[in-house]
Amino acid sequence: MGKTTNNGSKKPTVGIMYFTSCGGCQCEILTHANLLKKLVDLVEIKYFPMGSSNNTLETDFDIIFIEGSVSTDHDLELLHIARERSKILVAVGTCACFGGVQSSKNAESSLNEMLRYVYGDKIPTVVKALKPKPLKDYVKVDYELPGCPVSGKDFVLAVQYLLNGLDPFLPKMAVCYECKQAQTPCRLQASYMCVGSLSNAGCGAPCTFKGLGCYGCRGDHEDPNYKELVKLFRQKGYSDRDIYNFVKVFRGNYVREKLLPYLDLDIPLPEDEKPKEVN
């Protein structure tokens, strides 16, 4: 695993697929003119429906990049096809890595509640909705490139590494580290809500640079200290409700286990998150 086979003169085959998402990660990729122009020489892009009208999945792939969360049976079917046919599967962006903003209420609401709120009794039948989840909940994902959107730099780097048969190396450290490097004054100290200390750096901390708190769009680094941060937020006068609201925006699929234990909030487990009873 981790190697693209260059059997003879055959160019590696690549796919760029998207599930339920905003398209922002693909837009970010599309800003990289030089990379893309080079890429068309180096690889064969066999599947890229947002960019091309000539697509096939009836072939073996070396790498498939996927944007978006799995939110319909159609997404899931495509995911299984992608996993089966591609040597390497890369989750691109926070939707694909963690479920994204559309899962921000996953810890508190069932899919049914969400659908009813939205469509009332007239739930469309064109596709079967699923609770928005990351790819890794269903299949093995080889690499994750988080970010909302993905960092273009990470994407370029990952492509270069993978095409050379190397493991992309993306260091995991806190966004705070990037604030220090850029000498950005700490927002948390100025009493803004900021979850940069939990969050995975690599973005260059553009949000704290603009004077806002980081809301952690790139997910957690390896050793996030939720407990300590909750203590700090409380000291700054934030209510548990506000802390939960802020943190869940990008962490709907794991706030329950990681954050809720430290908050005095009673949020009942949604129907579809309860363990199924076995008789």
Partner: protein, 429 residues
């Protein structure tokens, strides 16, 4: 025998959709089927503090996130009875210029052009048309650059907040944008000449209704008023009345709700805007329009591609005005303080694809209790279906494969943003 034309996955559009046209006894019926997963945005914002709302709704769409952020910020300010000063309005509009460059540039070059040149993607054209491909990237990426300066990131930049901006761009940054906007003039003129000279399929769809935001001075990004054009009749109404005029309803075959005016399709977006504002454009834009082969007002949906190029010219000239004003009258502070209060607010903007509507209700502490968002693509579904029916009628003698290709191009000409359309509505009264 009943004919059936199906495009199972629309490509070179944003999101997942299909189109099906069925013929029975000489009558055609078209269905735009949207099977993008639901994203529950109105549900996600309920219970949230207003501060978090723009960052959430931004993720409805990566292409027009600035439009969603602007609409939500305006709705929030409206609810709290706040008004940002004119200099900050200009900065906000400048960010929207970025969204238009990115979105229209992406559409014209990456999504639409390959069809006209007989390729399946723009990247495939790199060898044969290197300059054209470079120009596509240049126009689109200037939009990305403008958004980055104003919002802090290429996409989903957080700097555009309720009340204004977290931080102001520097004068130097604005000057640099000005230089780049000066520099891009030729590329935009050439873009317009190019799309005007292309052979657009013939199709005439007289519009019952066309809709846009209304500014008596002319084409603009947002306003508190709207204009509904019904043949020769013009009706002005306010953003608060939007849901009285535009009516939404779910349908079984689409994850997006369909909107109509008096039960009929309504055209929004570049073609509607150019049709409505063609006589009020800047002198530069008017001059270019007068030299074109394509004539406005137009009833051909394929001319949406030309209308986009016209809008880029106008957006550039507005952007230069904004920057000149800002450089001589630089904002004194980045934002105004907002004081939450109980009530409902409305925000209507012209997104690249058409009129976009956000409304929220808040409690006295600024927590959202209700919301509704109506996106242009949701509004356009019925127009797309009507046009597809017309197309199937007009081209019934052509082989099915060719009609299918035309139908796909037709839908593409609307530049549907399917992710936007399934953001999901609600607002329980």
């Amino acid at each position: 025998m009943a004919k059936k034309i199906t495009v199972e996955l629309l490509t070179r559009v944003e999101g997942h959709g299909a189109i099906e046209i069925v013929e029975e006894n000489g009558k055609y019926k078209a269905f735009v089927k949207i099977f993008e997963g639901p994203r529950f945005y109105e549900y996600l914002v309920v219970g949230q503090n207003y501060i978090n709302i723009p960052r959430i709704v931004s993720r409805i769409c990566g292409i027009c996130y600035v439009s969603h952020r602007t609409a939500s910020a305006r709705a929030i300010e409206d609810a709290f009875g706040a008004k940002i000063p004119p200099e900050l309005e200009l900065l906000r509009k400048l960010a929207n210029v970025g969204a238009f460059f990115e979105s229209h540039g992406l559409h014209i070059y990456f999504l639409a052009l390959p069809d006209y040149f007989g390729y399946s993607s723009l990247l495939e054209m790199v060898k044969d048309y290197p300059n054209l491909v470079d120009r596509g990237f240049k126009v689109k990426n200037l939009g990305v650059e403008i958004m980055k300066v104003l919002t802090g990131k290429n996409f989903h930049g957080e700097n555009l907040i309720p009340g204004g901006f977290a931080n102001l761009p520097t004068k130097d940054e604005l000057k640099k944008l000005k230089d780049q906007l000066e520099e891009i003039k030729e590329d935009l003129d050439e873009t317009l000449q190019l799309v005007d000279s292309l052979k657009h399929p013939n199709l005439t769809t007289p519009r019952e209704f066309q809709l846009s935001i209304y500014n008596p001075q002319g084409w603009d990004f947002y306003s508190n008023q709207l204009i509904l054009v019904e043949k020769d009749k013009k009706t002005l109404f306010t953003k608060k009345e939007y849901e009285i005029f535009v009516h939404e309803e779910p349908v079984e075959y689409s994850m997006a709700k369909q909107s109509t005016v008096k039960g009929k399709p309504v055209l929004v977006g570049p073609l509607a805007r150019v049709n409505i504002y063609k006589d009020q454009f800047s002198e530069e834009t008017k001059k270019l329009i007068s030299q074109m082969k394509t004539k406005f007002p137009s009833e051909n949906p394929f001319h949406q591609n030309v209308a986009r190029a016209v809008e880029l010219i106008e957006a550039r000239s507005l952007a230069l005005d904004y920057i000149d004003t800002l450089l001589s009258d630089y904002p004194s502070k980045p934002h105004i303080e907002l004081k939450p209060k109980k009530g409902r607010g409305f925000g209507v903007v012209e997104a690249p694809r058409g009129t976009l509507y956000h409304t929220y209700e808040f409690d006295e502490n600024g927590y959202c209790t209700n919301s509704n968002i109506i996106t242009p693509t949701a509004v356009l579904q019925t127009s797309m279906e009507l046009d597809a029916q017309r197309l199937a009628e007009s081209y019934s003698s052509l082989p099915l494969e060719e009609v299918k290709f035309l139908a796909e191009r037709l839908i593409r000409s609307y530049d549907p943003c399917i992710s936007c359309s399934v953001h999901m509505w609600s607002l329980s009264p």
